[in-house]
């Protein structure tokens, strides 16, 4: 148990980061802003109580966008029926994630290599920076296929698109954060937010709002316990068949992000993390979300990153964050009303930039396969989004892993009685090919194969030995296998032929 003050303080910073995200993501999901804040409170709270790590959960971009895409064809944005469908979708997502837990599906994510996880983290950081630009420059939302198109549009149309007041506030927030970090590694996000807020007040003091057109956080009255009972009737269930594929996608994307974050935490900190329990926590939190007027969430890269840089190591920081959202909105409402969105986005920019680390690239550059995984993951995320990137990362990690275990370590010694071939590694259908080459180069000689360092032998390897031994017998040569007792029993079972001499060690 770390210092509880550290945890509470990290929770406080987490709350400051989540408030603007909750509001923005509620819009993306087609809901009123308070649903995003309830998500920031209750999903964070439940997944921290049930989970085992210091991961911060809550509203998430990809999940929110998918909710909007899924439900908008069924009902009008923000209408009561729309909200009912969102809640139904959320319950489905929770159930699917619980099913995933029952099947112990978290194992897939154990194959993610450290390079892939760093690549995903860097890619997510890039996406966070791009998203924060919208608020820093006060752009009205416009959609482009690739990030460079957006940058091109912003640069070529800067005078029309960019709000200079908003830009000034955003830049001063970022500068405040970086300068503040020199003096206090702990409080720099708070320093950044305060700099942005004061800069915003100064701008509002000199120029009136009709001129600046700045976007502010605004007033947000919250209930302390917003109970809601999702309406489930036969009519809804008939229509909601269309939601099922989306529920599966959302469940996967939410879990994939959470598990990547948890894996990263497990890799880089000494927290006692159980991946299966995290899946259970996410699933149950998302299932309970609709009963507290909130939509589903997942682990958050940026908030977990900030949380970790502040030294939080237990789920208590998540619980504290949930509490602080409620307290901040309830008691600091009038102060937060005039918080410029640009200042909030500035802090996100800092957190996103922290996730792309040059030291990672240098670290992985030493092994070529790791560098390829890192760069391929990063590039596929910045071009095709997080979900595609995670799938590619899992695929690449598993491929590299398979390539590596299908390598055999072979050493050849020439003895009086013939050639001795020592085999290290797993002998299965993918790796037998390496043996073939050796057998061909020593064709016609007596061969002794030492199998005592072989970890696994499968049917195709046995078939290979039988085939080769009969070939060799035709040439008058003999095949000898050096094995242990366990392997003898196994080879007998697989039907080793009598042409091969077996010598137990």
């Amino acid at each position: 148990m770390g210092d509880w003050r550290t945890e509470v303080f990290a929770g406080f910073v987490g709350a400051i980061l989540v408030i603007p995200q909750g509001i923005t993501y509620a819009y993306l999901a087609g809901l009123q802003p308070e649903y995003g804040l309830y998500c920031a409170i209750f999903v964070t709270l439940f997944s921290s109580i049930l989970g085992t790590s210091s991961m911060m959960s809550g509203p998430n971009t990809a999940v929110a966008i998918l909710i909007g895409v899924a439900v908008l064809p069924l009902a009008g944005r923000g209408s009561p029926v729309y909200i009912d469908f969102v809640f139904l979708l959320c319950m489905m997502v929770g159930l699917i994630q619980l099913l995933f837990w029952l099947l112990r599906g978290a194992r897939i994510f154990q194959y993610l290599s450290p390079a892939a996880i760093s690549g995903i983290s860097a890619g997510a950081g890039f996406l966070i920076i791009m998203a924060s630009l919208d608020s820093i420059l006060d752009l009205s939302t416009f959609r482009t296929t690739f990030f460079y198109e957006k940058l091109y549009v912003i640069i070529s149309d800067a005078t029309d698109l960019v709000n200079p007041y908003s830009l000034v506030i955003g830049i001063s927030t970022i500068l405040g954060g970086y300068i503040g970090r020199r003096y206090s590694a702990r409080y720099y996000i708070i320093i950044a937010v305060c700099t942005g807020y004061l800069c915003g007040l100064l701008v509002a003091f000199i120029w009136p709002q009709p001129l600046t057109e700045l976007e502010y956080l605004g007033r947000m009255p919250l209930q302390w316990l917003p109970f809601s009972i999702p309406s489930v009737n036969i009519e809804y269930l008939m229509t909601s068949i269309k939601l099922v594929p989306y529920a599966f996608t959302i469940a996967f994307i939410g879990l994939a992000q959470s598990l990547v974050i948890v894996r990263e935490l497990k890799m880089e900190t000494d927290q006692d993390i159980d991946l299966d329990k995290e899946v259970y926590a996410q699933g149950l939190a998302n299932f309970l979300a609709p009963f507290f007027s909130s939509f589903v969430g997942s682990g958050s890269f940026n908030r977990t990153k900030a949380n970790r840089s502040l030294g939080a190591t237990t789920p208590f920081s998540g619980i504290a964050a949930a509490g602080f959202v409620l307290i901040l909105i309830t008691f600091l409402g009038p102060v937060l009303t005039y918080m410029p969105m640009a200042a909030m986005a500035g802090t996100l920019f800092i957190v996103g930039a922290d996730m792309i680390k040059w030291s990672d690239v240098k670290h992985y550059a030493q092994v070529r396969s790791e560098l390829v995984i890192y760069l391929a993951t990063f590039i596929s995320i910045i071009f095709f989004g997080l979900a595609t990137g995670i799938v590619i990362a899992v695929f690449l990690s598993v491929s590299v892993f398979l390539l590596r275990i299908s390598q055999l370590e072979l050493s050849v010694e020439n003895k009086d009685s013939g050639t001795l071939l020592k085999v290290k590694g797993a002998l299965f259908y993918a790796s037998v090919a390496h043996l073939t080459e050796k057998f061909q180069s020593h064709f016609g000689e007596n061969l002794t194969v030492d199998l005592q360092y072989t970890t696994h032998i499968d049917q195709s390897a046995v078939d290979f030995f039988i085939r080769e031994s009969s070939n060799m017998a035709a040439q008058g040569a003999k095949l000898t296998l050096l094995i242990n007792d366990q392997q003898r029993r196994f080879l007998k079972k697989l039907g080793i032929s009598s042409d091969i001499e077996l010598i137990s060690l």
Partner: protein, 263 residues
């Protein structure tokens, strides 16, 4: 036989055609929409807009700075004539002297939040703004595009020959208005505050003496409109104009400070 039937139908249609083109498509009333379980994107935005207009404090609280609802001035959820009705979608975009810009309906709505609701200006793509725009479009069905609808805004009072007298206005206010709006203009229960920090600010249209007088004469006391004389309405309006209320958000506080320092 069949050809005869077709001919009869055809001639009937021809006879009906002119009337059909003028008759409005029957759009569902807001009461029908409210009980409808499934709504498409347009009508659900209309209903959302209607909810914002009638209960701004609950549905658009993010941008509201005082305790008013839109329907405090746009009476009957913006359907009552001479009480700033909202069936004006056909008049926008238009140039307005207030901000010296050509205004779309979106900017017009956003400025209401800034002035009359004394809040902050929502971004132009805020869902609340889009919903209110949808509701205004819904109310404007049947109006002639580009023309002023009948009973738009508030009636313009003719010159009475006397200047508005706030002292007289105060006695009228205490006699006729204070039972609902309170002696300190704070608003009692559901009735809106007419001055003080919970009311509209100095940039609002209602802060203009002629605008407010027209509204008061046509609609006040509530449910008993046009019972005051036009002079009485002008006097009350002048009295309200003198009261304390939030500053005009168009003024730069910095310039004001400089002015104060130099004088």
């Amino acid at each position: 036989m069949k050809i005869n039937h077709l001919l009869i139908c055809g001639s009937l249609l021809l006879l009906l055609a002119p009337t059909l083109s003028h008759a409005q498509q029957n759009q569902p009333s807001i009461e029908q929409l409210l009980v409808e379980p499934f709504l498409d994107d347009y009508y659900s935005n209309v209903v959302y807009g209607y909810e914002i207009i009638t209960d701004t404090q609950k549905h658009a609280s993010r941008y509201v700075g005082n305790s008013l609802d839109c329907s405090n001035c746009h009476l009957q959820a913006g359907t009552q004539k001479e009480a700033l009705p909202l069936n004006v979608a056909g008049m926008y975009p238009k140039w307005r002297a207030k901000n010296g810009k050509r205004n779309g309906i979106g900017l017009r709505i956003r400025e209401c939040f800034l002035y009359s609701l004394d809040g902050i200006m929502p971004p132009e793509d805020a869902p609340e703004v889009l919903a209110i725009a949808a509701y205004i479009t819904y109310l404007s069905q049947g109006e002639v595009m580009g023309a002023e609808p009948e009973g738009r805004g508030v009636p313009t009072l003719p010159a009475t020959g006397y200047d508005p007298n706030p002292a007289n206005g105060r006695s009228v206010y205490l006699e006729q208005c204070s039972s609902c709006h309170g002696e300190q203009g704070e608003g009692i229960e559901e009735m809106p505050a007419v001055w003080g920090l919970d009311s509209y600010n100095k940039g609002a249209g209602m802060n203009g003496i002629r605008e407010a007088a027209g509204f008061i004469w046509a609609n006040m006391p509530f449910g008993n409109g046009k019972s005051l004389s036009q002079q009485q309405a002008l006097d009350v309006s002048a009295y309200l104009n003198l009261q304390y209320r939030p500053a005009d958000p168009r003024d730069s506080k910095f310039l004001k400070l400089l002015e104060d320092l130099f004088n």
